[in-house]
Amino acid sequence: MSIRKRPNIFRGINVERLLDLIPILIALFAAFIVASFLLIALDANPITAFSAMFEGAFGSQNATAETLVKATPILFVAIGITIAFRGGVINIGGEGQMIAGALGAITVTLMIGESLNWLVIPLALFAGFIAGGIYGGIAGFLKAYFDVNEILSTIMLNQIAVQLMNFLLNGPLLDPESGGFNNIPKTARISEVAQLPRLAIFDFFSRTRLHYGLIIAIIIAIIIYVLLWRTTIGYRIRAVGLNQRASRYAGINVERQIVLSMFLAGGMAGLAGAVQVLGLNYRLQTDGSPAGFTANAGFNGIVAALFGGLNPLGAIPASTFFGALLVGAQKMQREVGVPASMITAINGLIVVFVVSSQIFILRRTRRRVGEAIGQMDDNHTEKLKEGEN
């Protein structure tokens, strides 16, 4: 009996991928349990607290819209983190790359003004992508050619970006109308043609802050999914992520792929910064603190990427979940008096739980991949030896 091989359009959704969900579910469950105990320890009723959170995140049109507004930059960053992870690079630089992207977008927008009509939006987004990409690319370059640990370099670059932004917002980019008096460092407001329109589905979400950045993020998630799993570019990135040595034997320029994954990752975070400017605040503003502009989306994006199973499409529900946590936590703070910072702690636990429970599937995969690569290595080593002779 012959089994005809079906063309598998949704290659991403198969048994292997479903197994990938196990650590995520374990993590979610464990985080839920720990959060409950924490709430009890803080004299709050977990059921009241969780229902307040749900109410705060999805209880009304406006609540849902706010959840999605929070989720949008997280989704962009998570897509970028996913690319980097798949390429074997750990990108902690989402914060800095977001700032770089926002600076690129606001500079282009303010320079163009109203002269190009609606064309300013794609140009500003592109500028945000490139600026974030270059900023991420620096860390990729340093890793590829100078063996600089990318985790450390991106953390340094985050701090540098914050200071650069503070300098520009207090100087060259300072809102001329603020008269030099600026408790809240901010740029001038962008012209109306440059503003991403609000997103209203018929009457739904009208009069909320939800904007087209969400739609752009979802489209980009699909594009990156296709890029990673359907193109040679994506194949090379993932090959380097799985095994650098084998990729090199196979003739892939490993250094270039590392720079490319970090460029793309930075570009995604740059878009996150750009849509915050173009769709939400209509200017670049901060309160001077490191997370004053980003609201920690650069870090939360890491959590969402892991939670999304390191898949751009998985990042969509994952980012929504974290957007809901952040918005819901504010309601929880008001209703049961537990500080919203609990969510940061829970996010940390979720990260720990996701990577810790990976052990259950990793052993199986690693053994299989290891065997395959071992064979590849042997074959190539022989070939190389023949070549030398």
Binding site: L42, I90, I92, L142, F146, D147, V148, N149, I151, L152, S153, I155, M156, L157, Q159, I160, Q163, L164, N166, F167, N170, G171, P290, F299, I302, V303, L306, V338, P339, S341, M342, I343, T344, A345, I346, N347, G348, L349, I350, V351, V352, V355, S356, S357, Q358, I359, L362
Partner: protein, 305 residues
């Protein structure tokens, strides 16, 4: 002009500012020499800083503050060991998880248990007869709280432990070649648990050296990324305690200079001087990345054959 900026006070604050970096980075050195990258250092420092502050705030006892920092730091180290050694989780990411946990938890508990910004009377400076009275030198070196001296004393101690003791030999063996160490009968798991718990304790003390000795307050994200700098200092110092100390001194000198520049009012945008330490660290990472002391097994979980 230059004389206004580079004063004895700058050197004195260099020594003082280097203290938290030294505690944290020396502990990190030990962990990394055994093959584990602990990126959660900043979170551990925050937890240590908060619990030390809270203990002093409630009891007024500085000793209890230090004990609280040691216990909390040790527990955080134990958690990191369980995650990275027993569960073999990816170290870079689980470290970020630990960091986020420490960041959120310390802020949560601060808001819940204390609420408003408060100061405590912290560890006083020690007056050393004769030495403290020497002009300039006394001001720079002999007018600090006890934790400063402990931190600097740890440098030769750590060097001795790593190079001259049986334990140090095991640490280095486990970091360089865990398979061989395992074959020789060294328990990779035990060694790594030990180094990570010690690293956690030192991170807790690093936090305490901020919250109950240097600035005597606790606030959200008190460390402002100092733990991450400490991790970078280990690379900078080539995994050697003395190198780590030189890095910590250089970094805090730039920091002290930056503070002084903003006081004197030199016409450099303050953002640029605030940026300088990070740019220097980044450059240092470029030039210091190839050290022969770099543990071969760093970030690699050990799996028996």
């Amino acid at each position: 002009m230059i004389g206004n900026i580079i004063t004895a006070s700058v050197f004195a604050s260099m020594i003082r500012l280097a203290t938290p970096y030294l505690f944290a980075a020396l502990g990190e050195t030990l962990g990394q020499r055994s093959g584990v990258l602990n990126l959660g250092l900043d979170g551990m420092m925050l937890m240590g800083a908060f619990f030390a502050f809270y203990a002093v705030f409630i009891t007024g006892s500085l000793i209890l503050g230090l004990i609280a920092a040691i216990i909390v730091g040790g527990l955080m180290g134990l958690a990191m060991a369980f995650i990275s050694v027993t569960l073999k989780a990816e170290q870079g990411i689980s470290g970020i998880g630990i960091f986020l946990f420490g960041l959120g938890m310390s802020e949560l508990l601060f808001q819940q248990w204390i609420g408003t910004p408060t100061t405590v009377s912290g560890i006083p400076d020690v007056y050393i007869p004769i030495l403290s009275d020497i002009p300039v030198i006394g001001h720079i070196f002999f007018n600090h709280n006890i934790l400063v001296y402990v931190a600097f004393a740890l440098v030769p101690i750590m060097t001795l432990v790593l190079n001259k003791t049986n334990f140090g030999l095991m640490v280095r063996a486990v970091g360089q070649n865990p398979e061989a160490a395992d074959a020789m009968g060294v328990s990779v798991t035990k060694v790594r648990y030990t180094t990570l718990i010690i690293g956690g304790i030192l991170a807790g003390l690093a936090g305490a050296s901020l919250s109950i000795a240097q600035i005597n307050v606790f606030q959200q994200n008190l460390t402002a990324g100092q733990g991450f700098i400490a991790v970078a200092l280990v690379y900078f110092g080539g995994w050697k305690p003395r190198g780590v100390m030189l890095g910590a001194l250089l970094f805090s000198f730039v920091n002290a200079l930056q503070l002084q520049i903003s006081v004197v009012g030199v016409n450099i945008p303050s953002e640029f001087s605030a940026m300088a330490p990070y740019i220097i660290t980044l450059l240092a990472l470029v030039f210091a990345s190839k050290s022969r002391e770099k543990p071969d097994a760093l970030t690699k979980p050990f799996e028996r054959g």
